[in-house]
Amino acid sequence: MSIRDVAIVGTSMTKFGRSNKTELEMFAEAALDSIYNSDIEPKNIEELYLGNCAGAINEGQVNMCAHAAEEIGLHQIPSTTFEGACASSAVAFIHAYREVAAGYNDTVLVAGTERNMTLRPTGWATRVFQCSADQRYTQFTGLTFPGIFAMAANRYMKKYDISKEAGEEALACVSVKNHHNGALNPKAHLQKEITIDTVLQSPKVADPLKLYDCCPFSDGAAALVLTSAEKAKKLTDTPIYVAGVGQSSQGSLCTQSDITYPIGRAVSSKKAYKQAKIEPKDIDIAEVHDCFTSAEIIAIEALGLFERGHGWKAEKEGETAVDGKLPINTSGGLKAKGHPIGATGCAQIHEIVEQLRGDAGKRQVNKVEVGLADNMGGEFGTITTIILRR
């Protein structure tokens, strides 16, 4: 297959947190900003790829893609909503990338939007999040999303013979690090430093996870403009190229034999490394899907960035800090930047782009050439890997 090089020329995200705006309104803000940042006009956009997960349940809005296009003057262009739970907008990105790479389109808009912090109580949001697990064989048990990643944490501790105390401390280190990064990110939902004790003393959610092991429910949107490398060079001095992408799927938790090493993530990332012609050791920074602290440790191992069974130590020893060996989640991750489900994939890419361009301010990592974004939806159901380079 002959495909052409594709670049990101503009990105944007709203501040994550609580918003009084609807999903369409937040989308419109981020989308138009990313178009203007790209030095183009809405009329230059040929197609819209929109990530959204639970708009139908939370806002009663289906067919969001059509209304989204009209909001920003993309009259009559093809517009499609992509849904892959928490990976919705990364899946949208991959499909947009493929169509530009194949030459069907030149310049397209990818976006994600989600409003999770509705006026309804935590129990409702917890139920809505459950919807991405198997309706028949997972949801009825009452197993929540913190519960799934708590199960993974317990299995990990048992498998690698880590005591409950040492394991919980390592999990807390992930949260402390991501909160530190979030405090340096003006777009983050939670911009405050915490300590290990903040995590350990917070209320239990699903053992061994506590409140500060969990990402918040956030509202927000993110967007970016993709175009051919040829056009990108005329628009910006700092195009960021898509080096490789991967995507995979897995069935319910009851079809998976080792939830400490989701095989789908290994499959997806191998595909992306292969296309990018690199190995995990070539990655300079990564945004990974830390919906819960245990999820970050599992992700960095399955991506091949850290040795299996060693991720927890790497977190404890500061190897994943902004000034560490391999900075993970410099944006604050889902934990501190926030997690508006459908917007998360694009927001991760936004951070990698800022880092590659040297625009990450106080979070800036030295000498960044290649960055990876890992997004995951459901009970390890939909997994994406996107590798970007300068």
């Binding site: 129990g123 917890t126 048990t141 009452g142 239990k204 079809t255």
Partner: protein, 137 residues
């Protein structure tokens, strides 16, 4: 078109009757749980419904303290991911353990299903379901 062999409706009715149903592949003898259209090992659709013996081993577990809205009354929930003796996994509640007594020592313990608890009219789907309940052997 090949008929879907073991539907959720049949599965749930049996769970409420204290039986875990699964499938056995007639081609490669693989035991399949949860139910699927096709054998995940050999891709055969020649499958028979069989009753599993209801025993297995705890692969991992958690204590859900913040429960979804329809289960807040019965939280905390001790939920286990159980490797069934025949093959495959199931999620179920452990009924004979106190939440604060659940420790990593549970992993690897043998369990047996003692029945199914009915879930009526799920708040989102309106569908009825069932939760398998297990006890330590």
């Amino acid at each position: 078109m090949i008929d879907y062999k073991l539907t959720f409706e049949t599965y749930t009715k049996n769970l409420l009757g204290g039986r875990i149903l699964g499938l056995k592949c007639n081609k490669c003898s693989n035991y399949i749980h949860p139910p699927r259209m096709i054998c995940p090992k050999c891709y055969s659709t020649d499958l028979n419904i069989i009753e599993f013996n209801g025993t297995g081993e705890i692969n991992t577990f958690t204590v859900v303290r913040v429960a979804p809205t329809w289960m807040e009354d019965i939280a905390p929930l001790i939920i286990a991911h159980i490797k069934l003796d025949e093959g495959g996994f199931i999620l179920g509640h452990l009924s004979d353990i106190e939440a604060d007594a659940a420790s990593l020592d549970l992993i690897g313990k043998k369990v047996k299903m003692i029945g199914g608890r009915e879930v009526k009219k799920d708040i989102i789907s309106g569908v009825n379901g069932a939760i398998p309940i297990f006890q330590l052997l």
